[in-house]
């Protein structure tokens, strides 16, 4: 299981408005594209070099494709990254203030301390 790679997905998609829209509209297409083109990119490095070993497990891939923030939390992805990206995708559908944010928290009600470890 790679918490790091889950976080890298959330981090890179969140910072790109086009990727945020693609992830909202067609998550399977976006996750598949991202894993094949972005997963091994060295982010803080000049271009021309890449890593060779990063890939999702089937469970991680499916959790991302399903927009399943509860499973991502259980897997130890960084809660701030998940929350920020999911707000970007779904807050726009709110019918009242903080509606999505509250529902997001309520969906995690089954978790108690200690929460899943987020150390990478």
């Amino acid at each position: 299981m790679s918490k790091y790679l889950l976080n890298k997905f959330l981090f890179t998609v969140d910072r790109d408005p086009e990727l945020v829209e693609r992830y909202r509209e067609d998550p399977r297409e976006l996750v598949t594209w991202w894993e094949s083109t972005m997963a091994n990119s060295l982010l803080n490095c000049h271009s021309g070099e890449a890593s060779t070993w990063l890939g999702f497990t089937p469970e991680e891939r499916e959790a991302l494709i399903a927009h399943d923030h509860v499973r991502l939390f259980a897997m130890g992805s960084h809660p701030f990254l998940t929350l920020t990206l999911f707000i970007a995708m779904f807050e726009r559908d709110n019918t009242g203030p903080l509606e999505y944010q509250k529902a997001y928290g309520a969906a995690l009600a089954g978790f108690s301390l200690p929460y899943p470890d987020i150390a990478t």
Partner: protein, 289 residues
């Protein structure tokens, strides 16, 4: 030598900018009271009449990332662009450019390294809302040069609370040894109890009001002993999953000094989190110029 004319510790609530500038139906019911408190807090910096701001905050996975994560980083650049696309998107924060006080950055880096803190540095740093929120609340003119100092309260493994306090105390001494006539304010922001992306987020109050009450007491009284007795990396999970940001308050307690009571204390119980505002005037020089 330089003088430290104010030490300020604050929460950084990214919703303040939007709440305080909204009008009509968009203006939330708590905005007027919040703005009143911020204006009073702002006056505590204004009256100290600083020339330079040393700003302690924490990057929220904007420029600093898990492939190369510093624990403590000092910006050393002539300018700092500020705020990011996702902060514009979620909080409506404006883009800003702040001037840097590069000679003070160099002094803090050299002296910090010599004191045993292996500080990272950045010559091109885009800062985020942990530093721009206190600019907006305390110095909205954004006209003073800054030295940004980032801490890692976000991506474990984290330094322990004691290390934050030690760094704060060192920053105090280092600034006071800066050969300059300038008046420096040290401003740091963190959190009280806070939950982000977990089951306790966005409640009617902060996730742990009892912790908040105790924490405000520790800070207001400068009670580092009491605080360090209870606060550990493990204990900070209990009040909320983002409460490690409290360690930036502990750093500021280190700047202010053990046992030194804050000269100004205010709090504001908001949905989601308790706001808290503290100012110390380290010397008689902290008043008017």
């Amino acid at each position: 030598m330089a003088s430290i004319v104010a030490v300020i510790a604050s929460t950084h609530h990214p919703f303040y900018y939007r709440a305080s500038t909204s009008t009509g139906e968009d203006r939330p019911p708590f905005a007027d009271e919040w703005t009143r408190k911020i204006l009073a807090f702002r006056e505590t910096l204004t009256r100290a009449d600083p020339d330079v701001l040393v700003m302690v905050g924490s990057d929220h996975f904007h420029q600093l990332w898990l492939d190369n994560m510093p624990q403590f980083l000092v910006g050393k650049a002539p300018f700092y662009d500020a705020n990011w696309y996702n902060e514009e998107r979620e909080f409506g924060l404006p883009r800003m450019t702040l001037k840097g006080q590069e000679d003070l950055s160099a002094h803090i880096l050299r002296a910090g390294l010599d004191e045993g803190f292996d500080l990272a540095f950045s010559n091109e740093l885009r800062i985020d809302h942990s530093i721009t929120c206190p600019i907006i609340t305390l110095r909205p003119e954004a006209d003073l040069p800054i030295v940004p100092i980032y801490t890692n309260i976000f991506a474990p493994p984290l330094p322990r609370p004691t290390r934050f306090v030690q760094l704060g105390a060192a920053i105090r001494t280092i600034i006071e040894q800066w050969p300059s006539h300038l008046r420096v304010a040290v401003i740091g922001t963190g959190h009280l109890s806070l939950e982000l992306g977990g089951p306790r987020q966005f409640g009617p109050h902060g996730p742990d009001p009892a912790f908040d009450e105790k924490a405000v007491g520790w800070i207001a009284d400068g009670d580092l002993d009491g605080c360090l007795r209870e606060v550990t990396l493990d204990s900070l999970h209990a009040p909320g999953n983002a409460t490690h940001g409290f360690m930036d308050f502990m750093l500021m307690m280190g700047v202010a000094g053990a046992g030194v009571k804050a000269d100004y204390v205010d709090t504001f119980d908001l949905f989601h989190t308790m706001e808290a505002y503290f100012t110390w005037y380290p010397s008689a020089r902290g008043g008017a110029r």
